[in-house]
Amino acid sequence: MKTLVPATIETERLRLRHYTHDDLDALAEMLADAEVTRFVGGQVTKRIDVWAFIARTLGHWVMRGYCPYAVVEKSTGRLVGRIGLLHPETWPDIEIAWTLHKPYWGMGYASEAAKAVGRVGFGDLKARRLISFINAENTPSIRVAERLGAMREGPTDFFPGETVYVYRHEPARFH
């Protein structure tokens, strides 16, 4: 299988790795949370749909050579979220996407992991352009983008019916 980026990434407090079947319970808990999933497609409540969510993520890796990582808190071994490079068919650019489970909000985990992912995206993958799509009402995520030094490019019509900003990441901030 082609892999264009590292299969695992370590940061100070987090380990980013590929999902496995064993993540089903932890991911199900996260995706069942209405607040966590509000801006990323909504709640997923059926177990088989959570399984398919993991399968699609891994299939993204097979087709693209990269995919969003499962983010694990090193100190506890717990799955805390999903962060990585996302580029499904039709997506206008490669996205740095982050979703954290609620107990782990406000700890700087999204910035820490997204920073490492951006480095891989601009470095290993040699992406010319990395963006993040963020709903105008998603203030915590907008703050993460700003902390990463991203520039707001204005709303996109890629998600009809929603006001979604494109944040363009600055390669220089990820050296």
Partner: protein, 177 residues
């Protein structure tokens, strides 16, 4: 996970191999055809993100289980004509041998030829206790394939919902040895 069954399988007229992103158009042709999808939930998939999701899920199934669905290529033409393989998402009633062909490939015995080869690979490498196929009660063409493979009808399941019943066909593992 490393593949537990061969990643490619050759039969007399067909080559079963892994899907790639280049198959998007061929898959779109198949899953966008209402006749093909009639007994597979009834919903056609026509948007490119739907095709992408379906391909991604198919390839991810291989990573999670070590087996999954193959793209079926007609050797003579090199054309992708269907999807045949082993399905076992979490909660699935049992390991399923599943087949779908695009309409131009119907009536040639392709499903029987490919499903037989996949059934043999499953029995040899996975040693399952049970191997089934879930088939809509009105899908006579698929039922005939199952019967030709030596499967017997067990019962009806509402696994796909009360409005979308399926017969459970149980394969005779001895036929695949």
């Amino acid at each position: 996970m490393k593949p537990l069954v061969p990643e490619t399988i050759e039969t007399e007229r067909l080559r079963l191999r892994q899907y790639t992103i280049e198959d998007t158009d061929a898959v779109a042709r198949m899953v966008g055809d209402p006749e093909v999808m009639k007994f597979l939930g009834g919903q056609t998939q026509t948007k490119s993100w739907e095709i992408w999701r379906s391909l991604a899920a198919t390839l991810g199934h291989w990573v999670m289980r070590g087996y999954g669905s193959y793209g079926v290529e007609e050797k003579a033409s090199g054309k992708l004509v269907g999807r045949i393989g082993l399905l076992n998402p979490v909660g699935w009633p049992d390991l399923e041998l599943a087949w779908t062909l695009e309409r131009t490939a119907w009536g040639k015995g392709y499903a029987t030829e490919a499903a037989g080869a996949v059934g043999r690979a499953a029995v040899a490498h996975l040693k399952p206790e049970r191997l089934i196929s879930l088939i809509h009660p009105d899908n006579r063409a698929s039922q005939r394939v199952a019967e030709r493979l030596g499967a017997t009808r067990e019962r009806t399941t509402d696994f796909f919902g009360a409005d979308n019943p399926a017969f459970i066909y149980r394969h005779d593992l001895a036929r695949f040895r």
